[in-house]
Amino acid sequence: MPDRAATPPAGRRSTANGVRRVLLAAIGVLFVISIPWYRGGVEPSIWFGLPDWVVVALACYVAVALLNSIAWLLTEVSDGDDEPPGSAR
């Protein structure tokens, strides 16, 4: 059953969309810095029982999970009325 009652008003929708875009951009940055490009030639140390660059990557992925979860909750997924782009019908 379509869940139209969950559709927020236009003003709130636009704010939510803006926040969602910022979160998605932050997620992109986190993916890039999760990869230890920046660590050339430096001897790794052990943090929490793991190499430091592994801990940094994991911290990025935990942050991605949190931000992405919020982004999904802010996403409007409607059930039927949007016009499709470029439809031939």
Binding site: P36, L58, N68, A71, P85, G86, S87
Partner: protein, 482 residues
């Protein structure tokens, strides 16, 4: 004990299947393949979870962590990227899918490109690529099922018998209950997976000595394992995030779950939960593969896919409590594998019956045809799994992704850019596929750490974009509706 556990597990699946079959509302494809679009948050989340995490994740990822060491932490990242990339597809696809009553991924292609020249060719090409990827996926699951059945019963059930019996079980509940049975058994299997993984994490952090002991053990046998990976490995890390993120959103079984959700709200809540699952699943199995380095040094490339069952075997020998916990993990892994195989089989049947053969959404004959195709596919893949046991699971994942990613422009670009045309999209897909398949078969799978499929996709996108721009003046009448 392993055989008894396996029998109880299979009996529970049978019970769920009979309940799901009784809940069936019609014989139409939308009821059989999408459960009448009735899946709520609990079942949808667990079926998405159980379908996304497969034999590849439970056996292949620990094997790859064992082979590659700490850099395999990338797996947690690329599994997470899938749920991020879905943002680009789901909010736009879902409303159209509901309004237009989509059942298969090809329905989107048919709708979006309509009667354009080459639209039919594009539809067939997408359906063929998806079918090939699904057949590959099914083969990998059957292979992993056989391995797990042999391990869980301590060799009492052979690999071949395991493949045959479990394949028959999947065919039984998929044919009898369709998506409803698949989703409900997935929910049960997803819970079993989570319980098994929690037990596994408890073992790793407790009895196995924790992360410090794990890293110390690794450094004893591989002194340079903690070093930062070289440039090629870092590029491959990034490339794998791109490959998996873009290819996985066009997984047919994932797209069909987007169609099958009860509502958009249910869908977004399920994805909000799904984003945490790489931390509870991929990370745990990666750590298991790493823990195996210090304990099982010297395994060959193929043997590395067995690190999970081998470690569980060691654990089980520690006492009755450990044996029961290990059995739960074994059954959780088997559940992960079977739940992916059933979803893949259901998608394969629907794509073949509707997109390739041309069956109608409202024709029960299309449902029957889908079931017959699914039966033929699982018999063929089971035979192949018995004959070709010597292929690494990660190798199969890469091959599947290299092909599937070529379908991404027909979905991800087409849904955002009204100017994309069918003919250049088709040409791009064919060129990208030739490059990707050629690279795989000529053993040039990566160039400078970048997957050949990603390079193929770049060419694919370039052709689709440039060709669509070139076709613009003559295609005004086909542009987006006002």
């Amino acid at each position: 004990m392993g055989v008894a556990g396996l029998v109880v597990y299979l009996l529970l699946l049978c019970g769920i299947t009979f309940v799901a079959a009784r809940a069936r509302q019609s014989n139409e494809p939308s009821d059989h393949f999408l459960a009448g679009r009735s899946l709520g948050v609990f079942v949808l989340f667990l079926t998405l979870y159980a379908t996304a995490y497969s034999g590849n994740s439970l056996l292949g990822y620990p094997g790859e962590a064992y082979r590659r060491g700490f850099s395999w932490i990338m797996a947690t990242g690329f599994m997470m990227s899938i749920i991020v990339v879905f943002h680009a597809l789901v909010p736009k696809l879902r409303p159209i899918a509901v309004r237009e009553d989509f059942v298969t991924p090809g329905d989107w292609v048919r709708f979006r490109f309509g009667s354009e020249p080459a639209a039919r060719a594009l539809l067939i090409a997408v359906a063929v690529l998806m079918s090939l990827a699904l057949a590959n996926f099914l083969f990998a699951q059957l292979k992993a099922m056989g391995e797990m059945a042999e391990q869980v019963t301590g060799g009492l059930v052979s690999y071949e018998i395991g493949v045959a019996v479990l394949a028959a079980m999947i065919l039984f509940y998929e044919t009898l209950g369709g998506m409803r049975a698949v989703a409900w058994t997935d929910a049960f299997q997803g819970i079993l997976m989570l319980v098994g993984l929690a037990a596994l994490l408890g073992w790793l952090l407790g009895e196995a000595g924790g992360l410090q002991a794990m890293t110390t053990g690794i450094l004893e046998v591989r002194p340079h394992a903690a070093d930062v990976p070289d440039r090629a490995e870092l590029t491959n890390w990034f490339s794998t995030i791109v490959l998996l993120g873009l290819a996985s959103v066009v997984y047919p079984q994932a797209i069909q779950r987007v169609y099958a959700a009860r509502s958009g709200t249910v869908l977004k809540r399920s994805f909000a939960l799904m984003t945490f699952m790489p931390l509870t699943t991929t990370l745990v199995v990666t750590l298991i593969g790493l823990a195996a380095i210090g304990r099982l040094e010297g395994l060959g490339t193929l043997e590395a896919d067995h690190v999970m069952p081998l470690l569980l075997g060691h654990w089980a020998s520690a006492g009755t409590g450990a044996a029961v916990a290990a059995l739960v993990v074994f059954l959780g892994a088997l559940a992960a594998i079977m739940s992916t195989a059933d979803s893949v089989l259901l998608s394969l049947g629907s794509i073949a019956a509707e997109d390739l053969v041309g069956g109608s959404h409202h024709d029960p004959e299309a449902t029957r045809l889908g079931k017959r195709i699914a039966a033929a596919s699982i018999v063929a893949m089971a035979g192949l799994a018995m004959a070709a046991r010597d292929i690494t699971l990660w190798g199969l994942i890469e091959l599947k992704m290299e092909l599937l990613i070529q379908c991404a422009p027909a979905f991800l670009i087409a849904i955002h850019w009204p100017g994309l045309r069918a003919r250049p999209t088709f040409v791009g897909l064919v060129v990208g596929t030739i490059v990707a398949a050629g690279g795989v078969f000529l053993d040039a799978k990566r160039i400078g750490g970048i997957h050949i499929g990603v390079i193929g996709l770049m060419l694919n996108v370039l052709i689709a974009w440039a060709g669509s721009l070139a076709a613009r003046p003559g295609r005004q009448s086909r542009s987006a509706p006002a």
